[in-house]
Subunit: 349 residues, 2 copies
């Protein structure tokens, strides 16, 4: 029981788990496939986070610095786990860099994959340069460049944000809701209006899911303080009239076709299961749930158990998740590991 | 740093926090105002929980048993904290039973208060016996009695579940969304259909917020497998025609008035801030957020900090919350306490 805990993935959940374990002096090893820690908020260059408004590079960057500065955490970058054998308290993990680790337990914090908008071709991404994704707009904002039309660098006068791109869409095999895109989009709409006060911003939605206290802080504030316009619509296609992008669809509240021109169209892209989940599941001998996320088996006894004892999961590896909840789950999974190791010590004593 | 941690409230968040602390041998004291632990799921007699489908008495009851059986956890029931002074690592708490405690830190897991439907009089609660709340239906199911009309004990043939009762309703000062009622109501609709297959169940909604993976498991499953009907509507009033309850409103998709008779109308009641929050805030010297929940100050550095160092918060005390997320936050707040105590030891060493 003196081996470290293996943490797969150094995003918000993994960073939280590592910090929790280090807090009580339990060593851990983060194995991160990219060349730096931070997960999607850092690697994809997110701007200001929901709901704190802190910049991702400060908020998540601070979590990275803390973990990298800890004596109890070892970080192995640009590596993956290729083999995982053994049983709780005595697992052997083989890494892609040839290293072998003895670990007590594993926490999979392997996150999600952003939906690729080319899989929704009728909505114009890849065809028109000014059809972009929320991730691209995050990068425009976080880089300090500002929100500009990629085609010619101009400030957009009219922006449409289309919700549920790669979410709630059975036609393309994505039935789930990605949970946080509504709120992130409302936040983004306000950021655009703040930077370009003359810009009109429309949000096309099916249901607005700014749950809990996000209702006030994002849904109402975006409408009342920032004059963001919401249209409940079924979108048919995004085309161009030569000068402007054109969003065609049906306003489902007034049951009429609507065709509105825009300078920029933003796809609020969803959270797919990590494309590597089949490999991860096979390596770790765990079950995926029906959509391809990593199945979380328990909540009440030990949070984040998978189908294999000693292997835990936290954050958006389990399904679309907010950053806050990913962090909380990372802490909780770390506690579940500690608790299981303590029980095992008790049993063998 | 050898004092216990004070946990206020023994619901899911408090039970998770206590278990986390006990796992690493840190003593804690749960102060619970009621005569038993378990919080809303136990005290209000919830039936099967979202999303596991486990009975509340088993799932949360198991958490209660574990905490009550721990050597590191002391439980003080039917008591509240009346005074709280000092600073992190050396707080003094006075309880309503006269006891004085020295504690290192406090975690407020004081939960929420169910919205009282009498505050929405035009929707018939308190006037017609067969207008009930989701909590009452949970109790009908968990008691084994089954879903019956309170007026005469008959099985309802038609049930309407009205969402957002005490949520998203500025007219009565409740602008927030209660986050989980959509999903709980879809779950309840399926339970009703399972028990009474002939019963028609309608859900009246503004936006369906079955976020994340709940979309498949609750929204689609309730429609396709259980034939639950969803109506997007603005409800005007619930009256009676002498024989049946009548729900009057406007179908906002077809923009037409709709008047439908029902045997039972269920209010999906929201989550108000705990009515005792002003007292709790005053006792602990902490800030409430704009709606009256306990403000959570940090997420990335230390989850669940309040405006006062050494006083933490977790679960639905911070706003409408799911049980799962409350549990995760309880674990996370416990970790934040441990981390802060460790830092303090480091600083004074």
């Amino acid at each position: 029981m003196s081996n470290p805990v293996l943490i797969v993935g150094g995003g918000p959940a993994g960073l939280a788990a590592a910090h929790s374990l280090s807090t009580v002096g339990k060593p851990c090893v983060i194995v991160e496939k990219e060349d730096r820690l931070g997960g999607a908020p850092i690697l994809s260059g997110y701007a200001k986070l929901v709901p704190t408004g802190e910049w991702a590079k400060d908020a998540i960057g601070g979590m990275v610095d803390r973990v990298e500065g800890s004596d109890h955490v070892r970080v192995v970058k640009e590596a993956t786990v290729t083999k995982f054998d053994g049983s709780p308290g005595a697992f052997q993990a083989q890494l892609s860099n040839g290293e072998n680790l003895q670990v007590d337990a594993a926490i999979l914090c392997s996150g999600f994959t952003h939906f690729d908008s080319v899989n929704k071709p009728e909505w114009g991404f890849g065809m028109f340069p000014d059809v972009v994704t929320t991730t691209q707009v995050e990068q425009m904002i976080s880089s300090g460049q500002g929100v500009r039309c990629p085609s010619d660098g101009r400030k957009p006068e009219r922006v449409a944000i289309l919700l549920c791109v790669g979410s709630r869409d059975r036609q393309i095999g994505r039935e789930w809701c990605s949970k946080i895109c509504c709120t992130v989009s409302a936040n983004m709409a306000m950021e655009i209006r703040e930077e370009i006060p003359d810009c009109h911003v429309y949000i096309y939605y099916m249901d607005i899911r700014t749950f809990g206290l996000y209702e006030t802080k994002y849904y109402w504030r975006s409408q009342e303080e920032f004059k963001v316009k919401y249209i409940k619509a079924r979108i048919a296609e995004v085309t161009s009239n030569g000068e402007k992008l054109v969003v065609k669809g049906e306003d489902t509240l007034v049951k009429r076709p609507i065709t509105i021109p825009f300078d920029m169209v933003v796809h609020a892209i969803g959270m797919d299961p990590n494309v590597e989940n089949p490999t991860i599941a096979s390596t770790f001998g765990i079950d995926l749930e029906e959509h391809g996320y990593i199945g979380a088996a328990n909540r009440y006894g030990a949070m984040g158990e998978t189908s294999r004892p000693g292997v835990y999961v936290a954050g958006s590896a389990t399904g679309p998740e907010t950053i806050d909840d990913s962090i909380a789950q990372g802490h909780a999974a770390a506690m579940a590991v500690l608790s299981s190791l303590r029980s095992a010590i008790g049993e063998t004593a």
